[in-house]
Symmetry: C2
Subunit: 215 residues, 2 copies
């Protein structure tokens, strides 16, 4: 287990309905030293990417993104969530569905903060079905900017978001991938990150060979 998986086992709480509460260290109270370790790990995983901006979404992504930004020496932009659109000036907007709150929200970024010159690392705390993330990707694309990668703290591997985003060809790095949880025993099953990398390498090799076939 890596440092984040260890912390989830120590302080996370599994609740009925596949809910994992990490509010004592990640998204209500925030352990800044842990966030700093996460930032260093994101930097390691995206070391070869020409990232010049981090994009996240309010509210719980902001702390992680700001601490990570120190490792990349770049500014952070956070997308705003709103049911209505009333930011003044020109904005990029994506409509996303929230399963948690059973409603549709707008994700909004001021146009002047994303340009075709931007090479963006998207950071968020959780990835489940990936709706918010797809909204952020859509906004980066609307700006003509480049998504260099996506860094997530905790991915719910048993939901479809991660698979969809990886299938789209993005480098998605989740520091902990939860493949299953048991509210009765409190047991949390993590995906082996090494296995994950091997699979990714294999998929990438397959895709290369497919491309070769197509050529």
């Amino acid at each position: 287990m890596n440092f984040l998986e260890e912390r989830i086992v120590k302080d996370g709480v599994v609740k009925e309905g596949n809910v994992l509460k990490v509010d004592s260290f990640l998204n209500h109270q925030m352990d800044i030293k842990l966030l700093n370790q996460m930032g260093a790990e994101f930097k390691r995983r995206f070391a070869d990417k020409p990232i010049n901006k981090i994009l996240t979404i309010e509210a719980s992504g902001i702390g992680i993104a700001c601490i990570a930004a120190q490792h990349f020496d770049v500014p952070v932009v956070f997308a705003k969530k709103s049911q209505s659109i009333n930011l003044d000036g020109d904005v990029y907007v994506a409509e996303v569905e929230s399963f948690t709150h059973k409603c549709r929200n707008h994700v909004i970024v001021g146009q002047k903060f994303l340009t075709p010159d931007d090479h963006v690392l998207i950071i968020d705390d959780f990835l489940a079905n990936g709706c918010a993330l797809q909204g952020l990707i859509q906004i980066v694309q609307s700006a003509g900017a480049t998504v260099e990668g996506i860094g997530i703290a905790i991915e719910k591997g048993f939901q479809s978001g991660g698979r969809i985003i990886r299938n789209l060809g993005y480098q998605l790095e989740s520091l902990a991938i939860v493949d299953g949880m048991d509210a009765e025993t409190g047991h949390i099953e993590f995906r082996s990150q090494e296995k994950d990398r091997e699979e990714a390498a294999e998929e990438s090799a397959n895709s290369v060979s497919r491309s070769s076939t197509l050529d």
Copy 2:
């Protein structure tokens, strides 16, 4: 002018209705190096306080609070805003009025994240009428914790929030206090921080002499 006032003059935009837009470096796009300077300055101003926790409020306070927390070596808790109260578990709630959005909101913090042992520095990006801040103070008091101080990036000195909070006896440190703005010329008038300190010292002396009279 200090570093933040200089930045406001350089990149802030004054709009009609006493609106100061600082979204290019503070509360939409965030300059993390600037946030780090602000954190160091908060540490200098609250150096003698036994702070063990920083409390802020979503969304734009979170980045400032997280970077500042590195200078204090403490965790951050961010209060959540909600029109309804549906966090599970026991929470502290304060009702606050939002002048910007013309509505009433609830400010919510999980009870387990604030205890009587906590010595809290409250941090936020803006102080105008002080409603959100009063909600945060109320929550710290509900928990039996101590407000050791309040650190604000930009205070609108022509609104009443700062005066009310200082009159209540709190150490309120605003890195930039805007006493007036002109949307036509773009001119921003800052309060001299030295003058401010002298006045505070004088008031404190008066209050001591008043107390002596009362004794």
